[in-house]
Structure formats: C-alpha cells, structure tokens
C-alpha cells in the first residue's frame, strides 16, 4: 500500500506540518533512557554549564526523530530510502518545534520513481534547528 502517488504530486508541494509541544526536561530524560544517549549535556544542567553551555540542550537525534515523525506520517516507512539531516542550532527545553517538508525534486532513475523532500525543524522564532532531506520511492 503506497500513500504516495508520484504523478499527482508536484514539486513545491508542502507536507502537512508537524508541531510539537514545548520540549521539557522530562522529555529529554525519557529520550536519553530510550535511546541510550546519556551524554550529561542533555540531562544535567550543572554539567552542561560547566562545559560552557547555558543549560541542557536537546539531543540532536530527538529533533531528527520529530522530523522522522513528519516523514512517516506522510509516507509509508517502507518507501523511505534515505533520510539525512544537518544540525544548525541547539534546541533548548521550553522551545516548540515546527517540522515542515516540501517536495524539491522528482525523478525516475533505474525504473524507480524517486521524490526528494526537503525538511526543516524550526522553533517559534523561526530559528532553524535542523534541516535535511528524505528520498521516497513512490
């Protein structure tokens, strides 16, 4: 079952955005436990300050996971071939994220219909935390 119809989708099409609640310290502690990433810059404010940050910051992978939710709420996960991001700014507790995606390119290659979607996660002030691309096989 494919949710994506290659022929009906145009370059420039925007995915339904995904908005998160304000990220809490508890979210990050829970994410640390689930993911196994216990780097204390994400869960220990005193430690984070000692390393020159002004408090804890979200795991980059927590932010990428939010973009992942955007991707899988639109495409069938089996269709996702590639998913990559670059982290641009730190995400701090209290910030809300809006995850957006836009079709950037459509091409047929080796008999496969591929859609490239550009992705972005930004906070309420518009600061981009993370941007990247996913390639979907339609």
């Amino acid at each position: 079952m494919s949710k994506i119809d290659f022929d009906k989708l145009e370059v420039g099409y925007e995915l339904p955005p995904l908005k998160t609640d304000a990220i809490t310290h508890a979210n990050l502690v829970r994410y640390a436990g689930a993911s196994g990433d216990f780097n204390p810059i994400h869960n220990d404010p005193d430690f984070a300050r000692k390393t020159g940050l002004d408090g804890t910051i979200a795991h980059g992978m927590y932010v990428m996971a939010q973009l992942g939710r955007l991707c899988t709420s639109w495409a069938d996960q089996k269709q996702i071939r590639e998913f990559g991001v670059t982290f641009k700014n730190m995400t701090k507790p209290g910030q809300k994220l809006t995850c957006t995606g836009k079709i950037k390119r459509k091409k047929e290659e080796n008999g496969e219909k591929l859609i490239t979607v550009s992705l972005e996660a930004a906070d309420d002030s518009g600061e981009v935390k993370c941007s990247g691309e996913m390639i979907v096989v339609a």
Binding site: S35, N39, T51, G52, Q77, K78, G84, F87
Partner: protein, 150 residues
Amino acid sequence: MSVKTISKDLIGTKLDRYEFDVEKGKIREFCQAIGETNSIYFDLEAAKKAGYEDIPAPPTYSTVIQFWGYPKIWQDMENMGVDTSRILHLKEKYTYLKPIYPGKVSSQGECVNVTVGKMDTMTFKTTIKNAKGESIVEAEMSIFIRKPEA
C-alpha cells in the same frame, strides 16, 4: 588537564563489532519517548495490515542500536582524543535497505573522516546487518568538538 586533540590518523579506525537484540518493548519505549503514536509501531496486527512482516522500528531507531548496543563508544572516543563533554552532533544520514524488525542485528562502526582546524569534526559510518547477514541500514554520523572558550 591536558587539552585533547584528534588527528587525521584516526581515519580508517574500526570500532568493535557488536550484536544487539531489537525488542518490541524497546521499539515501543523509543516511540513513546519521541511522541510517535502510529499503531504500526505498537500493534502487530496494525503493522501486518500495513504490509510489514512484524513491528517495524521507526526511522531514527538505529540510534538505539548504536548507543545501547555499543555503550563503549564514549570510552573509544575519549581514547581517540575526543573530549566527549564538548561533542555536538553535526549530521546524521540513514540509508534504508530493509526494514528493521525485532530480532538480532549486528553492527560495526568505522571512522571515515576527520577534519582538524577551525572546526574539528569526525565522521563515523556504521552498517547494521540482520541475522541473515544482510545489510539493513547504513548510518553516517558526523560530530564536531566545541573548542574550549579562549
């Protein structure tokens, strides 16, 4: 405390091979932690109805395999000269070859690039294989190491 440094000599360094058991409960826990609610990650019937053989792991689940399967990564990085308290994640890229389902997987990481200078970065490539030895995910992670304040 001496300031740690990394060097280009680390390119090609292979980390230890390890195995990890992908469990449904750990997939559920991870999904709950990221706010994922799609029933395919929680309910076998829903997953099968959507065309999966079993409960699939969500797109960024590989991070669980890497951290829970290889907690030694922090020590390895310190041994390679990385001040792990100053690491920030720069890039992450996954190529999906087959779905990750519950069951045994094996994995091995390798340092594929190092840059030193204004910004010190390291890139690791990790291939995750299923129990049949088929590659299922290729992950490429880049980190950078914040310089101590002047």
